[in-house]
Amino acid sequence: MILALEYQRSPARYLAARGVTSTALGSRLTGMVAGNVAPLRLVNHPAPDPPGTGWTRVAPRLSGICGSDLSLLAGQSSPYLSPVTSMPFVPGHEVVGETLDELPGLPRGSRVVLDPVLACEPRGAKQCRWCGTGRASRCDHVTIGRVSAGLQTGFCSDTGGGWSRQFVAHHSQLHGVPDTMSDERAVLVEPLACAVHTVRRVDMPSGASVVVVGAGTVGMLTLLALRELSPAVPIHVVAKHWHQQERALALGATAVHPPGRATRALRRSTLARMHVPERGSEFLLGGVDIAFECTGGASGLDTALRLVRAGGTVVMSGMPSGHVDLTPVWYRELSLVGAYASDAGGPDGERPDFARAIELAATAPLEDWVEPAYPLRRWREAIGHAVDAGRLGSIKIAFDPNRE
């Protein structure tokens, strides 16, 4: 038996959480709602068994709380995703842990990070067109094969997840961590791989002007990836909280702007013209070339769409929620690009996102990004802290499942 946090099917609780957090007042209580209304429970249940060869049991050392997890707990995730999950499941897909079984090239006790995508190879399914071309994050087979439906570990009932003392992972999902890298850095590898993938999703000409909307973990890591991997200049960051603004500048942002000031500041920077509609936020005629939406919120995407020049690109990095006026996509002929998880570099033979992320995590200034981890038993506090991380000056909140 292992200790785990388990998310169960409960339409009533899902709707209650969604109903409360959708209101203006309720959105301020997201932490409380996520911790008390969401159908998440601390349970003792049997450890999952490896479903076949090439699988190993993994004992998490640290397991991060992601924005998509919070969105799920607050009832804000889209029902669209329900067929590609299987209940009940143990959340947690940002994991650094230790393997408990021998695998070829990965001895028992190896410290690993998890690429959570449950694509054709771990499922033992015939390769789909995407997995065959190094684009496993687009896998068409996430509902078939030897484990139940689940787009990722952490959303699949058979594999378990990082918010527990043990789960199972396929060899293809695991990447060894250098001995010199701390767990606190390693737990950031998965979101950093997503950020690398996000930046690689668009062709970025030298001198392209960019805005990153949101300065939580996703936004910061996207900024880091932009600085390391792209020729974009300038890079603006829309950051709500003071500490986020400071960190963004330290990471190399050209300028940071609070949300209420972003449109005006980017108007000035790009010599655009700003217009105020009869209802809704102001928008630019002109603007930046590319926007990275890293909040996962409707208002973040709405902001991004209003800041990009005609013919520009908006990359959706955060898991989207809520409804957004898509008129700018039509009127300004914008390209709306999704960026989900990470992949092996695609058919062009680029280096896999995870490999690049591990390198970056080893050298990037990520000190103090991960707060002292919570034990699973204090999950309500951990979730509350994660929801309010921006306000409280934190970036990444994680569980240490081995702590009591």
């Binding site: 000031r261 500041a265 108007r267 000035r268 010599l271 013209r273």
Partner: protein, 525 residues
């Protein structure tokens, strides 16, 4: 016979004194020994303004009478001061309306058909049709608007004319219609000694290319004060430009001066010295203050902005700008100048609700700075009221409100530029061009009702001399965020302000209070 201005020394019998504080006011008890500088009593206005105007037009200084300058078939351009003068706006009919009507009657009698009226608004916001009508009157408005009555457009390159450069290399680029006219008649109201004279045409009809030669940090720092033209580098530049303008076009300048009847009867106690308030005044003070405090912000602002001053016209003079202006300045001094013996460690100023750039608008923090450290600090001749390194204490709440239509570039200036530096020279070097040439600001200036993109810089430069001169600037009742952004301090009370200032000027500083408005100019000996 009006009483001259005087300096009161506060003693035990001195009542609390009125201090303006934005859209409000208070009675403040000043420390014993403080000097309070009062303006002369309001001068009597001329009884027959129309006769005074007619006399001025027929008996100008240094130029032929206006009728002799008017010829059939000529191009006549009448330029008039915009909404920034006077403050508060005067009750209708505006004296500019009267002057313009007289000029038009003379022009009509002489068969002059080609007449254009242009508001000399420089880089100020365009005036709305209603605002134009209020200045020129219904009859003129109906006859000339919109085709022949308009605002100057400093960004309409096709309608600007480069007249060349002065011997100091200053570009003079002005409104083409005016400069290609046979005669320019400029209708001015000189409220402070800064306005009028050579400034009227060289600023009111200028482009940014031209204005930047005198509206800059170097010039403003050497204008001591800019209300004292002989000692103002800014006015020296106007003089040089005037000479160049005189080679292209004849300018017939008509200047009116006003008395100190600044507030209407309902708030007439604001025009009086406190110990002369009668019971009715005291009752009105209490009633107005209480009602004012109870009003919601927007209503309070609307009410104050609707105030029109019952000014009397003290004189109307006409002539060439050089000839008429000394006479005008003398009239301004007659109304506003008060001799003060010596500088003090601390100067106190109560800033009112209005300045030249927030008529029918909002006094944003930059305008508060410009009003305090620019206009009020510079209400002196010879030497500033406060000694070098001394402290200026201003009364104003400095709310962080901006008018989104009138002051769009101010918002960005406050949020993006002042967060980097408050040093006028740094701002000028690093940011002025960006704002001055920003196409969006230019579009809003030309097509909406926005001040030009560069205007907040000019407002900041307006305080450049004071910033260099003063050791400390404190706002009593000031919003801490906005004052801190501008590099100033905020205090809750005068006692707190003096406590803060004690680090700079000691615990027993000499204090002067410039009791305005009504306007007073300190002649500091």
């Amino acid at each position: 016979m009006s009483r001259p201005g005087f300096v009161l020394e506060v003693d035990e019998r001195t009542p609390p004194l009125l201090v303006h504080q934005g859209e409000g006011f208070r009675l403040e008890r000043l420390p014993l020994g403080s000097k309070v500088v009062y303006p002369p009593d309001s001068l009597p206005g001329v009884r027959n303004v129309d006769a005074a105007i007619e006399y001025a037009l027929l008996n100008p200084m240094g130029i032929e009478p206006l009728p002799e300058l008017l010829k059939p078939g000529m191009r006549l351009t009448i330029v008039f001061d915009d909404i920034s003068l006077p403050l508060p706006p005067m009750q209708t009919p505006d004296v500019r309306q009267r002057v313009i009507e007289h000029v038009l009657e003379l022009a009509a009698a002489k068969g002059v058909d080609d007449v254009e009226l242009i508001a000399g608004n420089s880089l100020h916001r365009r005036m709305t049709p209603a605002e134009l009508k209020r200045i020129v009157g219904e009859r003129v408005f109906r006859s000339f608007f919109p085709d022949h009555l308009r605002n100057h457009d400093a960004e309409d390159s096709a309608n600007l004319l480069d007249l060349g450069t002065t011997d100091q290399g200053e570009v003079v680029e002005l409104n083409r219609r005016a400069m290609e006219s046979d005669l320019v008649v400029y209708v001015n109201i000189t409220l402070t000694a800064m306005s009028g004279g050579p400034k009227s045409v060289s600023v009111g009809l200028a482009s940014y290319r031209s204005l930047r030669h005198h509206h800059n940090v170097q010039t403003l720092r050497h204008s001591r004060s800019f209300n004292d033209p002989p000692n103002s580098a800014m006015h020296h530049s106007y003089e040089r430009m005037k000479d160049l303008i005189g080679g292209h076009v004849t300018v017939f300048q008509i200047e009116a001066t006003l008395n100190n009847d600044t507030f209407p009867a309902s708030t007439g106690f604001l025009n009086k010295r406190e110990w002369e308030w009668n019971l009715a005044d005291q009752g009105r003070y209490l009633a107005v203050k209480r009602a004012n405090e109870l009003l919601p912000t927007k209503s309070r602002r609307r009410l104050w902005q609707a105030t029109a001053a019952p000014y009397g016209v003290t004189a109307v003079n006409a002539g060439t700008p050089s000839d008429v202006h000394p006479q005008t300045i003398a009239n301004v001094h007659r109304q506003q100048l008060t001799e003060v013996q010596g500088q003090s460690d601390v100067a106190i100023f109560g800033l009112p609700y209005i300045c030249p750039y927030n008529v029918n608008s909002i006094m944003n923090p930059i305008l508060v700075m410009s009003l305090g450290l620019g206009y009020f600090f510079n209400l002196y001749r010879n030497r500033p009221l406060v000694r070098p390194g001394g402290t200026a204490i201003f009364y104003h709440p400095v709310p962080g409100d901006f008018h989104p239509v009138h002051h769009p570039s101010y918002i960005d200036f406050f949020d993006e530029v002042l967060t980097q530096s408050t040093d006028p020279a740094v701002l000028e070097t690093k940011y002025e061009q960006q704002f001055a040439t920003d196409p969006w600001y230019i579009q809003l200036y030309r097509k909406s009702y926005a001040y030009h993109g560069v205007h907040p810089f000019y407002m900041w430069y307006w305080g450049a001399h004071a910033l260099e001169h003063l050791g400390e600037v404190i706002f009593v009742g000031g919003n801490r965020r906005t004052t801190a952004r501008m590099g100033f301090k905020a205090a809750s009370t005068l006692a707190d302000a003096l406590e803060i200032a004690s680090h700079t000027v000691g615990t027993s500083p000499t204090i002067s209070y410039l009791h305005a408005p009504p306007l007073v100019m300190a002649d500091v000996r």
